[in-house]
Symmetry: C2
Subunit: 201 residues, 2 copies
């Protein structure tokens, strides 16, 4: 026997929660151990250091989420369909993993370099999407919009609500977590209409 897989998973789950909630600097190894119901020494027995554990978790997060989105870019469909599919599946991923955007946002501040490298090395290629937009402009299908502005628009509309979840929930919706979920579920389908109407000629 080499490493109890059950304990290993328990730790990884606990650590993921802690890091997502409190960020790297706010997370304590003791806190992870407590949450996993184990001893701090055992934690270090399974994972060398806090940093090593964090690396694994952030890598895992990207391995899971990025590919689903990339595949949408690469499909050979028209721009409108791409936008519809992208927004819908992008929001859907985060409805199921609502703490991830904040986690990533925190990481942007702490270590921008690492994050950029991670995304790049995970095969995201914005150029394909850019070209699709440029083509649509040339063909007169959409208005003359800067492809970079449009991409930022799309990503902003999908991601920001998750990053600012408490503000959206309490200040704008004046509700609770359930109201937020409903709001995002509705958004998942509506957002592409808004975007497409904003660029269609």
């Amino acid at each position: 026997m080499k490493y109890n897989i059950d304990t290993s998973e328990k730790i990884l789950n606990a650590a993921t929660h802690e890091f997502e909630e409190k960020g790297y600097n706010g997370t304590r190894m003791q806190g992870i151990a407590n949450r996993a119901g184990i001893n701090k020494a055992l934690l270090h027995y399974y994972y060398k250091s806090k940093d090593a554990l964090f690396q694994i978790i952030i890598h895992k997060a990207f391995k899971v989420f990025i590919p689903q989105i990339v595949s949408v870019f690469e499909e050979d469909t028209d721009l409108f369909t791409t936008i519809e599919k992208f927004t819908s599946s992008y929001i859907d991923v985060y409805i199921k993993n609502p703490r991830v955007p904040s986690f990533i946002t925190q990481e942007i501040n702490n270590n921008p370099e690492r994050l950029v490298n991670l995304i790049q090395s995970s095969g995201v290629n914005v150029e394909i999407f850019k070209n699709k937009i440029i083509k649509a402009v040339k063909e007169g299908q959409i208005i003359d919009i800067d492809p970079e502005q449009l991409i930022v628009n799309i990503v902003s509309l999908c991601l920001f609500p998750f990053v600012a979840k408490p503000i959206v929930t309490k200040l704008i919706l004046r509700g609770n977590d359930k109201d937020f979920d409903r709001f995002m579920e509705k958004r998942k389908n509506e957002i592409s209409t808004f975007i497409i109407k904003g660029i269609r000629k």
Copy 2:
């Protein structure tokens, strides 16, 4: 003489930078002292504790930025003009204070309650804006859009690029800080066109 105003400001500046860059948990009192070119004991002589210092800084940030935006809501202009003015001045504030959105975003994660209270007590009232949207829908000026979705759209489009600045700069623009500034300067004027086209009947 009670407290050297110069030293006091030096500390506040240093602390603001540190907190903005590293977040509450990542910031060290020694780091602030170093940056201010003083001794750690003097830091505590001027500001009771790390938390007290942080409170002052986050309050100050809100006192400065919120009122400018609220005033736009309250003006008695039509919806389209309101959107134009809001997006333009909102983005402009952050072009001049680009680290603030990340700072606030970190605070959302650490202490959502405090942030929501702070915003509410600083007089932001979304209802005025909501009503303006509802009225525009009724009068057939814009399509039948959920006012909450529209507000989130507007805020997302303005704020998210700042929160994800490194990603936008390196991954989408494939440039540097200057490219980002140019991008946002252009965005300041273009974004309202996109929004209004997206809702106009």
